[in-house]
């Protein structure tokens, strides 16, 4: 009896170390052993193996991506105001999409209530700016962190619901927040309010931008918002990539594939989910604050809009490819093109968007990126660990 239990313990330990302690999930014993030696740095006999994640494509992407980011940073120097405005839109939609993707695509927390944190961040920013002379940039960070803090009590309630019921529960929660903010009369109640132009001009570095580019104050403000949007959007991508490359990423993949199996090898599911929920709330809250700093006008119905901040975001992720970092990148381009050329059709545009999302979900559930990545084995942000032999003669 006791031998039997000890054997089970040993198995559990082995699994736990291989998934959470080391870097490799291996199908056979050799690989597990290699991972242990990799993790602890002992076992010279096994050092003929090494673990790699980079592929040739990913190295090319790293270079191309760096150039692209460099160009994007310098964009305001040569682009017109319209392009800058449109890029701000693309960046914040992409940021929101990456946050939702981490939540739904990687952690299995399908929320249709992320507008709660967009609106929360936005309203906290408006509250801070209109009651104090805080720098708007600091207000964005503070609003995000506060939204994240509020995600904790929110999570403790909505985590009682599972699967599809969790989805509607988050939606109800965001309605509660909307109705509560609509009660705050100093922020305009149900009709909302506008920020005085002068307050949004008190942003860090605005004089420097004005003299550097020789532009008006309002354009200088847009440029700063553009950079913040770029930073938040890149930050979201980098954060998700870093998380997924870490041992927590493996734990998340395990949770997504089978909660029960993940729990049996020692993943603390509740803690992981709570952690991801709060991190995405901080990100979503900061992006929400930025969006409404840019718009400079807020109302409860707009800031907590399920269509703008959740439906559109879900469409971006699903059409692009859920559960991949590349998917939202592809999705946001499709969304931007559709928005630019078709938004004038109003209701028909939304009918088309809905139909497209349904069609993708039914016939190509992995989205555009998933389809191409399966077909051609492309991976811009490689997450798979590849075990290679160290050939001395190579």
């Amino acid at each position: 009896m006791s031998v039997h239990i000890r054997f089970l313990e040993w198995c559990a330990n082995l699994c736990r170390r291989s998934v959470l302690g080391g870097d490799v999930i291996g199908p056979s014993h050799d690989h597990v052993d290699a991972s242990l030696s990799h993790g602890s740095g002992v076992g010279t006999a096994l050092s003929k193996f090494r673990v790699e994640t980079a592929t040739r494509t990913s190295r090319i992407v790293l270079v191309a991506g760096s150039i692209l980011i460099f160009v994007l940073v310098l964009l305001p120097a040569f682009a017109g105001r319209t392009l800058v405005q449109e890029m701000i839109f693309v960046f914040y939609m992409l940021g929101l999409a990456q946050c939702w993707n981490l939540l739904a695509g990687y952690t299995g927390l399908v929320s249709v209530g992320q507008q709660a944190f967009v609106g929360m961040g936005a309203y906290l920013l408006f509250f801070m700016i209109s009651t104090s002379d805080i720098d708007p940039l600091i207000a964005i960070v503070a609003a995000g962190l506060l939204a994240g803090a509020l995600a904790l009590p929110t999570a403790l309630v909505v985590f009682r619901l599972r699967g599809a019921y969790f989805a509607i529960g988050t939606w109800v929660m965001s309605e509660v927040y909307r109705l509560v903010w609509a009660q705050v009369k100093s922020l305009g109640g149900g009709t909302g309010m506008s920020l005085a132009t002068s307050t949004t001009f008190q942003i860090f570095g605005i004089e420097w931008i004005k003299s550097l580019f020789g532009v008006k104050t309002s354009i200088a403000r847009d440029i700063i918002i553009y950079w913040v949007a770029l930073v938040l959007c890149l930050g979201a991508v980098m954060l998700i990539y870093t998380v997924l490359r870490s041992r927590y990423g493996l734990a998340l993949a395990a949770i997504r594939d089978s909660e029960r199996a993940a729990e049996s090898i020692g993943v603390d599911i509740f803690k992981m989910k709570l952690w991801v929920y709060m991190v995405t709330a901080i990100g979503t809250g900061m992006i929400g604050a930025l969006i409404y700093l840019h718009k400079a006008r807020i109302s409860p119905d707009a800031a907590f809009s399920v269509l703008d901040w959740t439906a559109n975001v879900i469409f971006i992720v699903v059409i692009g490819g859920i559960g991949t970092i590349e998917g939202p990148l592809v999705g946001v381009i499709v969304f931007y093109v559709m928005q630019t050329y078709l938004a004038g059709f109003g209701t028909w545009y939304l009918i088309l968007l809905g139909t497209l999302a349904i069609a993708v979900m039914l016939f190509a559930p992995q989205g555009i990126w998933g389809y191409f990545s399966n077909r051609y084995g492309l991976e811009l942000f490689p997450l798979r660990r590849i075990l290679r032999a160290n050939h001395r003669d190579r």
């Binding site: 739904a104 299995g108 399908v110 249709v112 309630v157 009682r160 619901l161 599972r162 699967g163 599809a164 019921y165 989805a167 509607i168 529960g169 939606w171 109800v172 929660m173 309605e175 509660v176 109705l179 509560v180 609509a182 009660q183 149900g190 399920v306 269509l307 439906a311 879900i314 469409f315 699903v318 859920i322 209701t347 028909w348 939304l350 009918i351 968007l353 809905g354 139909t355 999302a357 349904i358 979900m361 039914l362 559930p365």
Partner: protein, 289 residues
């Protein structure tokens, strides 16, 4: 004091309407574990279907309902057969996202077809008729009729579930769809039938929604949330629980509104979360998700 009795009575009767909203959702969830995010929009669709029948044929709402119900049954059957059945058995995400997309499509298609104007199903004098209970206490005939219909719908659904062959198949698929299939039940047909029945229930809910209040293409999602809250409070898979859930939401809303008219909806949501914290599985859970 009497005004509070009145409030509580009104709240309980309003709960009848919410139970009607929720019965269809509860039915679908109970049988195929599908959470239909387009449920509220389907209620609005049904209301517009009844309205169209009224204006096209010049008939009253009840006759229009009788004409629209079979059509809505077919729409529900087809929706399940061609779209929703493809999403089942593939995890949480596909049904959720497909019904979410459907909700957006329905709202915008209704906006395109019927504009954003508020409509109403006019039922004549019965709309304002009331029943005097005491000298200063009267209850509207329409709310009373709504509540009675909710009870009747739930009785009928229970009869359907526990006294008929189709109901046996419904319960079998609900308990274990694979074993049910081994016993010769065609699950996909059962699901389509269930969605058809749910659409008839939805049509009943729409009839009362349209007579009692204004509706426009955008009010669906809020109705979905009330329905959902009633189902969760009642406990998954229990029709009588759904009625109790509806009553709790109705009571919370009217009591909230009495304290401050702006708190009506908020009070309903907060009551829902309170029940959720105390009884995560609802008050009368039957089905296991």
């Amino acid at each position: 004091m009497l005004s509070w009795v009145d409030t509580i009575l009104q709240g309980a009767l309003l709960g009848g309407l919410y139970a009607l909203f929720a019965a269809g959702l509860s039915l679908i969830f109970g049988i195929m574990r599908l959470v239909n995010l387009a449920h509220g929009d389907l209620i609005v669709l049904a209301a517009f279907a009844i309205l169209s029948a009224m204006t096209a044929l010049g008939v009253g709402p009840v006759l229009a309902f009788l004409i629209a119900a079979p059509i809505l049954f077919c729409i529900g059957y087809a929706l399940q057969h061609f779209v929703l059945n493809r999403t089942l058995g593939r995890g949480v995400l596909p049904p959720l996202l497909v019904t979410f997309g459907l909700s957006i499509i329905l709202q915008n298609a209704l906006l395109e077809g019927f504009s954003a104007d508020s409509r109403r199903l006019s039922a004549g004098t019965i709309e304002t008729a009331s029943l005097a209970l005491l000298n200063d206490l009267a209850i509207g005939l329409m709310p009373l009729l709504t509540f009675a219909s909710a009870v009747a719908v739930i009785l009928a659904l229970n009869l359907l579930f526990y006294r008929t062959a189709v109901g046996r198949a419904f319960r079998a698929t609900s308990d274990d769809s694979e074993i049910a299939q081994l016993m010769g039940i065609d699950n996909r047909r059962i699901y389509s039938l269930a969605m058809g029945v749910a659409m008839v229930v939805v049509a009943i809910a729409a009839l009362y929604l349209g007579i009692r209040a204004n509706f426009d293409p955008t009010i669906g999602p809020a109705r979905l949330l009330y329905a959902f809250e009633a189902v969760i409070i009642g406990g998954l898979g229990s029709f009588w629980g759904t009625l109790v859930g509806g009553i709790i939401i109705g009571l919370a809303q009217t009591i909230g509104a009495k304290i401050n008219p702006e708190w009506q909806i908020l009070a309903g949501h907060i009551a829902f979360f309170i029940v959720l914290v105390i009884h995560p599985r609802g008050l009368f859970p039957r089905a296991i998700d």
